[in-house]
Each structure stands twice: as C-alpha cells, then as structure tokens.
C-alpha cells in the first residue's frame, strides 16, 4: 500500500478527509477514534495484507504515522 492509500483507510475509519490528517496527529485525539474505527482498520488490513491484528495491536499505536508504518 502506498502512503495515500494508507491515509485514505485511516481517514475513512474516522470519517475525515485525508487533507485533515497528518502523520503527527495523535490517534486518541481524533473525534471518531473508537471501536468502529479500529474494526474498520482491522478489516482493511486483513483484506489488503492478509494479517489479522487485534484491537489491542491497533490501539497500541500513538500517532497516525505509527499506524501507517504498521500498514506496510
């Protein structure tokens, strides 16, 4: 996945535009960073990368950039 695709997945999960997100942003500070967002991220990763992270795995990431690095 390229950077744009990763950002699109995260933006969609929290119902934001990609332009509104930056790598430095703290995930917990995003208004819609909740169980639905985490599940949406897990679904995208399992679909695109064939990996099955737990909610705890995803919640352990601090920033948007940290999560993007995991989506390699």
């Amino acid at each position: 996945m390229n950077e744009k695709e990763k950002l699109e997945i995260i933006a969609e999960s929290v119902e934001m535009e990609t332009e509104e997100l930056s790598k430095e942003m703290v995930l917990e500070d995003l208004e819609n960073w909740d169980s639905v967002a985490v599940l949406t991220i897990i679904a995208a990763i399992s679909d695109r990368l064939g990996r099955y992270p737990s909610a705890q795995d995803i919640l352990a990431f601090r920033t948007v950039g940290d999560l993007m690095n995991y989506m390699d």
Partner: protein, 352 residues
C-alpha cells in the same frame, strides 16, 4: 469433521415472532450520540422484537408447533425426534425437547435432545437431524432454534449506552428423508482455546448468578451479559470461515459461483459484507438485512433469513444453498445442500 449425507431434505421453515416491536433508539440513553450513530451505520441496527416479561422459549415454540399442527402442515404422529438449539432454556432441568414432547403428548420413543450451540446452533441442529434420519425412515425431525435474550421484566427499566445486538425469535424447521439427486455436504470445526472471545460469564456453576450481578447485567450489559471481543470475533470469522467454505465446495463438487444463496448467521452488516468480499460473491446472494429488521438472534438467524429475505425463492424453486453458522465456542460449521419447493416458509406473529 466432514459429513456426507444422502436423500435428506428440509421441507418447511416457520419463524415465530413476539408481537412487541421496538427500535434501536428506544433502548439507548442518547440515540443522537455520535458513537451510537456510527455503530448504527456499520452494524445496521434497526427494529427488533422482544418477548413479554414472562414468555419462555417453550411458549414461542409451542405456539409455532400448534400452528403447524392445526393448519395440517405437521402431523404429530410423524415426529421422530426434536432437536432444540437455544441458550434460553426454560429450566436447567428438564431440557426443552422433553417439555415440547410432553406438552404435545407425543409418543415416549420420540428422541429429544437439546444442543446449545449459540450462533452455530442451526447448522449443528440440521447435522444432528440428518444423522438421526438414517434411523427413522418414516419419521421427521423437528429442529427448533431461537433466543429470547432481549426479555426484560420491565422494558423501560434501563437504557444502554450502546444498542444491544439481539432480537427475540423462535424457528421450527422440518427435516425428512427423500429421494434427492444432490447429496448434502457439511463440515464442523471448533477452537475452545479462543472460547473467551464470546462468553456469558455469569449464571453457570463457575460464576453463579447473584442479585447484584443480575442488576448489573440489566443495567449495563444487554442480552443477559453476553461479553464479546469484537475484533477477535471479526478476525476469527474472516480467517476461518472462507477457507472452510472453499474446502466444502470442493468436496461437494461445486464452486462458490454455483451457489444461489449464502444463508449465513447474521452478526452484523459489516461482517457479512466483508465475508462476501472474502468469498468473492455478490452481496445479492448473501442476505444481510436481518440486523436491521429483527436483530441477531444467535441460533435463530439463518431460519429467519429463510422465512424473510429468501422466502419467495425457497418456496418457488430449488436453490443450491450454503448455510454457515459461526460464533461461541468458537465454532464454525457449514452445509451445502439443495433447498427449495418448501411446503411452507413463513413468519408468523404471536401474542407472546
């Protein structure tokens, strides 16, 4: 475990609904809360049915069985076995199958067995029925499923932060011997090491129910305290179910493209869309509206989609169907079989 059956068929499916209907908005503290709205969009929460405060599973099932008998769609003398799969037993002892046998005044040699298999309960119930039919050539097996986990003594007493997934329903399926051109294939898997992903912790002998726990459940945890690791269950379904269906298709000598209906357990719209995607099948072949109309009723979901979304098709002509139940255990089990030209496939509303 793999199964191969010959000359067995489903001949009728009946769903029995409680008359009380309510909407998701009626059970949450703040229906306009953004998290509730987001959950509704993904899960597909909508309307549900709830039994009255003193209604038990046997009441719903007997309502349906008496309806079938009085309308001459079922002759009680033809019943050879009753298989019941529900988490909502009337009592710890005796089992529901025995209660139904006694209330209907059936012969003493009717085989009665309860198999509480939660979301896999309909498929395992059918597998049991197929196994039994080899021993009763001239009899029928009645498979009873459903749940009443939404029952409340006072529906207004507590509201939740998030809506519950449940919905109350009972179903009766008639299974019998026949001369069929297509064989039935089934498989069954379980992984008890992941059992905590879906669990009702209180009320058994490990953690006996107390007044305090019951109050906490009523106020905080809908559906009798069902506790779920949402992402764990999602990953389990995505990882285990598609390969098991591909393998079953191979055994049945068909491809997923040959299958007319994927009659899956109905956890929520999101999971079903992802499952359809993983199988590479179009959404139109995978009914997924049940969580919006009747909710997730565990063992009751697959027959409920048969009597609603798929009813016209199952009544009018033969369909190659893939049934799959997955959930508590964790257990996943599927069947590929022909279903169609049913004698009845309907949903009735009771006063219960």
């Amino acid at each position: 475990m793999d199964f191969h059956f010959q000359n067995k068929q489903i001949t009728g499916v009946l769903s029995i609904l409680p008359e009380t209907e309510y909407r998701m908005e009626d059970e949450v503290i703040d229906p306009n809360d953004s998290k509730v709205k987001r959950l509704q969009k993904v899960i597909g929460y909508g309307s549900r049915r709830r039994v009255k405060g003193n209604t038990c599973m046997s009441d719903l099932l007997l309502y349906g069985l008496r309806h079938l008998i009085s309308s001459q769609q079922l002759n009680p003398d033809d019943i050879g076995a009753i298989i019941v799969s529900t988490l909502c037993e009337d009592y710890l002892l005796p089992s529901l199958g025995c209660i139904l046998q006694g209330e209907l005044g059936l012969e003493n040699d009717v085989y009665c067995m309860d198999t509480p298999q939660a979301c896999a309960g309909y498929v395992t119930g059918l597998i049991h029925a197929f196994l039994l039919l080899d021993h009763m050539p001239n009899k029928k097996v009645i498979v009873c499923t459903g749940e009443i986990l939404n029952r409340k003594s006072d529906p207004n007493e507590a509201k939740y932060e998030h809506p519950s997934f449940g919905g109350d329903i009972a179903n009766i399926t008639i299974v019998e011997n026949c001369h069929s051109s297509r064989d039935i294939y089934a498989n069954y898997f379980t992984d008890g090491s992941r059992r905590n992903a879906l669990i009702i912790e209180d009320g058994g002998f490990r953690n006996p129910m107390t007044a305090e726990k019951l109050k906490m459940q009523t106020n905080n945890l809908p559906c009798m305290g069902v506790s779920m690791d949402g992402s764990g269950v999602f990953n389990f379904v995505q990882k285990e179910v598609p390969p098991s269906i591909f393998e079953l298709s191979k055994q049945a000598g068909v491809t997923v493209d040959d299958i007319d209906w994927f009659l899956f357990h109905q956890p929520n719209k999101f999971m079903l869309q992802k499952l359809a995607g993983a199988l590479g099948v179009p959404f139109r072949k995978v009914p997924m509206k049940l969580t919006e109309t009747l909710g997730n009723s565990d063992s009751g979901t697959i027959p409920a989609i048969m009597t609603t979304e798929a009813a016209d098709s199952l009544l009018s002509h033969n369909n190659l169907c893939c049934l799959s139940g997955f959930g508590g255990g964790l257990t996943w089990t599927s069947i590929i079989m022909d279903i169609g030209n049913l004698d009845f496939c309907e949903c009735i509303t009771s006063d219960l």
